[in-house]
Homo-oligomer: 379 residues x 2
Amino acid sequence: MADFTVTPWEVKGKVDYDKLIIQFGTQKISQELKDRIKRDVGELHVMLRRDIFFSHRDLDQVLNDYEQGKGFFLYTGRGPSLGFHIGHLVPFIFTKWLQHKFNVNLYIEVTDDEKFLRTQDYTLDQTRSFAYDNILDIIAVGFDPDKTFIFQDTEYIRNMYPLAVKIAKKLTFSQVRATFGLDVSSNLGTIFYPALQIVPTMFEKRRCLIPAGIDQDPYWRLQRDIAESLGYYKAAQIHSKFVMPLNGPEGKMSSSIPESAIYLSDDPKTVKYKVMKYAFSGGQPTVELHRKLGGNPEVDVAFQWLYMFFEEDDKRINEIEEEYRSGKMLTGELKEILIEKLNSFLEEHRRKREEARDLVHTFKYDGKLAKEMWEKIHE
Amino acid sequence: MADFTVTPWEVKGKVDYDKLIIQFGTQKISQELKDRIKRDVGELHVMLRRDIFFSHRDLDQVLNDYEQGKGFFLYTGRGPSLGFHIGHLVPFIFTKWLQHKFNVNLYIEVTDDEKFLRTQDYTLDQTRSFAYDNILDIIAVGFDPDKTFIFQDTEYIRNMYPLAVKIAKKLTFSQVRATFGLDVSSNLGTIFYPALQIVPTMFEKRRCLIPAGIDQDPYWRLQRDIAESLGYYKAAQIHSKFVMPLNGPEGKMSSSIPESAIYLSDDPKTVKYKVMKYAFSGGQPTVELHRKLGGNPEVDVAFQWLYMFFEEDDKRINEIEEEYRSGKMLTGELKEILIEKLNSFLEEHRRKREEARDLVHTFKYDGKLAKEMWEKIHE
């Protein structure tokens, strides 16, 4: 028995990703597939080089379609919330790279309806205001304004609804219950929502590629069961590992546990305080022991965060790993490296976030793709 | 135990309407209430005089609001189908009278989504084409184009969805399951639909009055449970009895049993044939016996249809009743009266239906009320 649990609403324990691939029935991203991507677009993103994105469904078919000129499109989403943290950014950063390298359309669904329906205390006005805020953070990542459409369910529903009811007719309560964690006491909106989540996978008559945490895979199995009967493609996926919570090497970073996360809004002092106080260390209890035995980068959150995306230079990350493992680098020093990286990343992010205010309208309504999408009723 | 069943999807047996009022917990429309309506608007519709509309919830409050100048609004609907029959027309004809007498707004929801979701074999294109057809029949009834908004769910969803999710959040699967005849094998769309049906009861911050068959009452109980918590009024209702099926005095007329119904599209020959062949008679087996014992108008469908709405003249209907009961009028003669009334009604209806083609756009999009409604997002 595995001593970890991965569902769309819970990640517990130390995840064995090889086992998870077998459990979920997905494919490992092989060296061959990575080489092929590199041939196709000239380079490999750090998250591919380091197996942060490590698993997939039909990525090979996506590459076939790309190489044959049929093309594909990208789809990702965001359940608007107050706490946008760096773990949430991982799929967006990677998606941006995919968009730029493959030069494809990207659809970003902002589920202001679902967040409202799932959270007893939120009003719809609140989730829509979170949506506005989160959209700024998303735009700051740097998507192509001509090829990206960001939409909120409560606004774009008219265009999606005919297709949504066609999808809804193919899915019963029994079928979605387990995957979405529903039961007979669930409200009607949460029960319908799975249909709305599937609609964007059918925005184009091409293959859709979804970059997301592997915990989201079960949602898309439902899509894959019904897509072809509606005349569309099964959604392809590319899955990432979880970003370790700040305070420990198990589970994943969570908005609702502040000491587990660095929020995009955390100021330099807060970042420093949180990393110093909470970041789970792979180091030894004393400097003497550390010098002697060295640290363990596998469980050290500061190292893992640098590895996952804050230190893109392969040579430099290897140096850090060696120095830490040998005991030459102390936990405090490692944390300082992360703090500096984090703060310069966040500073730059917030600068771009301010600029994003002028781009909201473009991404949502009058950019090239957005305009086309508002004229389309999905059937 | 009652030997009849009344649910929103089935009417069986000979309905005892007094018992039903007690079962459902509604109020009888008292003589006092009828007198009050007459005082308010100057006359009583034949369906009120003859207790075809016989039961209500909060109709007294609706009249309070009217008399105090607060006003109210009307809401009814239509699940689009191929077979629009005269039984379907009853609530529309009465609603038209209410609209004209009280001079109020009327909203007509055409549920092209629900019909598609509920009927395995229908495509969405089909239910939308039925919707167009049925809208012609509805417009032919003669509603006020400045004060009537006819809308299809798949088109107006954007304006309804924010309020729909607020309603949906208040209703669980358990709560709607029995009322809507759902179970775990129901599709997601049918499960969400109860929320969409409730939205129009909240189109205005005034009391909504729903004229409908009493079998629809259970739907509105759900609305009444949650309306005030959302800042709206409990929906008031005025309930009709069922139009007897042509072929028998029990149950109600059904689209799916052709010999039970006269469709609005039936030509004069078909009407004559159906009435002569199928109309359940309260007469005696032979002319001799009939002359001697007389007919029974209570179970005679031809008489009941004349009574319900085809013979509005109270003096004339009494004459017919007496002549039939006494045996002076034979079943064949009674049927001839109905056939003539039916055919002249249907001829006039079809004439108005042709004229309605030019009015569809007004009722749906650019009439006075329609225009206002397209500018409103219901929250």
